[in-house]
Amino acid sequence: MLKTFKVGGIHPPENKLSAGAVVETLPLPEMVIIPVSQHIGAPAQIMVQKGDAVKVGTIIAKQTGFVSANIHSSVSGIVQKIEETFDTSGYRRKAIVINVDGDQWEDSIDQTTTLKTDIELSTSEIIQRISELGIVGLGGATFPTHVKLSIPSGKTAEILIINAVECEPYLTADHRLMLESPDEIMVGTTILMNALGVKKAVIGIEKNKPDAIAKLTETAKKYQGISVVPLKVKYPQGAEKQLIKAIFDREIPSGKLPIEVGAVVQNVGTAFAVYEAIQKNKPLIERIVTVTGKSVSKPSNFKVRIGTPVQKLIDHIGGLPKDTAKVVNGGPMMGKALRDLNVPVTKGTSGILILNKKLASRKEYVTCIRCGRCVTVCPMGLEPFLLMTHGELQMWGDAEKNHVMDCIECGSCSFTCPAHRPLLDYIRHGKSNVGKIMRNRK
């Protein structure tokens, strides 16, 4: 029996259309827009001015506080302006706009592609370097990696879990990375193990990527302490809590972090970025982005410089298909719909999903038939139908008592409801109100 998490979960159609598309390097754009807040935590502080010349890898914004991340220029050129723009999450953010001129890299960066396996840095140097080079979680949550690696006193990490589940339908960025850079992932994983002081790392991959499982299992043999665990396909297995449950069979208590149960989870893309940072001294300036959709003629995976406007990726696949109704940043279950296409690719952009009218439109909802399906599929063991009622009636006290804050916003409930009820919309509303009430109480 393959491992998986126990409670809830769904099987949305996988639609991994771009799984066979080799990662292509997207040509340099004429201009990049680099927001200073691409991570969870405080925005970085801008270090450049209009007119400054920058190279690839020049630091352009500095982390403020511990939970924050440095931002580097992804191109060489001249800072054209600093402005407020919308980013992919739909918020207005300060961003640095750079006009591209050539492709000059900082000398400190090793641009060769030869594999470097010897790790020369010590634990603290590794964490220091990861922090300096602006590495954040690439799975989508963009939590600064150095924060996750700094274990609070009194806790110990027992296991490093590499999240290679990619359970969101359509997305294939991690899948391609595993096929194309298995050794770099292993070295990155080893570096992370050193940083955490753990002897054991487990890479969790869902069974629907047999080629990646085979490749990494083979590659892992050359490295100490790393094993690959095939997992049953079930959404949302890539959610941290569910993944730890599946692999480590431990449940993170409500409101606590993975370290509580001795686990640290890092995305497979992050492991790769860590490899490049430590072995090649390369900051996080590019990432793999899947561009896909049912009507897209050639679903693709691109290596894209951070700050490239989404429009550029769309142009490269031949423009938006005619029947496009919605463009999503990320996967269909948890991604965000884009307002317009001039927003830039950021550290957290794993895919651009183009949906046609039929897929994009919501159906009118009817009364709850109490089928209980939302309860059955909720991976957190909540009662979404009830939380929606609390949201509708603004009963925040009851919502809190029924653990609305435990919701991980995976969308399984809304996906499943046969009455098409917008459960998660109301639950989010509940979460934000209950969150406010809880903060005021403190």
Binding site: K326, M334, L341, K363, G372
Partner: protein
């Protein structure tokens, strides 16, 4: 770029099931059982069924359109199910006007008076059936001989009522067995009974289809069957002369129809699996209590209605197990 993009929160994809697709799935799954009813009872079974369906749909339409003056939702298929299941719970010889009255009660009182689909606490078809049982006791308890009935003097009564009467008058068990027919006949449906309840086999097929489609889960039917099996089995073990064997109780009467269709009605059954199991055990136990000691030979309808009444309470106090609730981390 002046194309208007749709902005809405995630998730951006949706499962394929809808209320109508579920309801018509249930209707579809009931067709084999309807077929076998027509086979055993003739065309009257079909007439009664179609009348009940028609009446339920029309009453729902009239009430929604003219009484409530709200949205008409007769196409979602739920009224069809109520009609089908009501018909399945009456003898095929029922006078047509009675089934029409029963349909009115099922839809009008059982469903619409509470606010329609989703708001009714009791299974509407059972509300209709129990109303008919109380109002028309003679017609509701005399069953036509099916066309293959070949056992002497075997007509007009179901195996359950024959057994109950015979046990009361102290007939020896071997004679009773001769009268009620064997388990194989019970299983395929060659026995007296309400038109849709006779064939355990065909109801089971429908149930498996619903299970496959994810319309029902195993929890409620299995807990009912197990409870009845254990209850009846232990009574029979204690006194084999006074109590019928477990398989007899499982295969006769309305247990299959009740456990697989009537008790699993989404609206009136509990939400969490824990509560479903308790609900199933309750139905099984109450059914056996009524069958053994009650005035009626069959008790599943009452048992389900009684347990329906506890569902709101169960939903309130029996919560699903939350993630990270009890932490037993090694």
């Amino acid at each position: 770029m002046n194309r208007k993009l749709i902005i809405s929160p995630s998730p951006h994809v949706k499962g394929t099931d809808s209320v109508p697709s579920i309801m018509y799935g249930v209707v579809f799954s009931l067709l084999p059982a309807l077929g076998i009813a027509i086979y055993f009872f003739g065309i009257s079974a079909l007439i009664v069924t179609l009348t009940a369906i028609g009446a339920c749909v029309i009453f729902e339409f009239l009430i929604q359109k003219y009484l409530i003056k709200g949205k008409v939702t007769i196409f979602n298929g739920s009224a069809i199910i109520t009609g089908l299941l009501l018909a399945f719970n009456v003898p095929s010889s029922i006078p047509i006007w009675m089934i029409i009255v029963g349909s009115l009660v099922a839809i009008g009182i059982g469903k619409m008076s509470f606010g329609g689909l989703g708001a009714n606490p009791f299974n509407p078809a059972l509300v209709g059936r129990v109303f008919m049982l109380i109002s028309f006791p003679v017609n509701m308890t005399s069953f036509p001989a099916n066309r293959f009935a070949q056992i002497d003097g075997f007509s007009g009564a179901t195996p359950l009522s024959i057994a109950k009467g015979a046990l009361k008058s102290g007939e020896p068990m071997s004679d009773i067995f001769d009268k009620v027919g064997n388990s194989l006949n019970h299983f395929v449906g060659n026995m007296e009974g309400s038109l849709g309840e006779i064939s355990a086999l065909f109801i089971l097929l429908g149930g498996l289809y619903m299970l496959y489609r994810g319309i029902i889960t195993w929890h409620i039917p299995v807990s009912i069957f197990l409870t009845v099996f254990i209850f009846a089995g232990s009574m029979h073990l204690i006194n084999p002369e006074q109590y019928m064997p477990a398989m007899f109780h499982i295969l006769t009467g309305g247990l299959f129809l009740g456990a697989i269709y009537m008790a699993t009605d989404m609206v009136t059954s509990p939400m969490s699996t824990k509560a479903m199991l308790i609900y199933g055990v309750g139905i099984g136990a109450l059914t056996m209590i009524i069958r053994t000691w009650g005035a009626y030979p069959e008790g599943i309808s009452f048992a389900i209605l009684i347990m329906n009444a506890f569902v709101p309470l169960m939903n309130r106090y029996i919560k699903p197990k939350r993630f990270g609730e009890e932490v037993k981390n090694g």
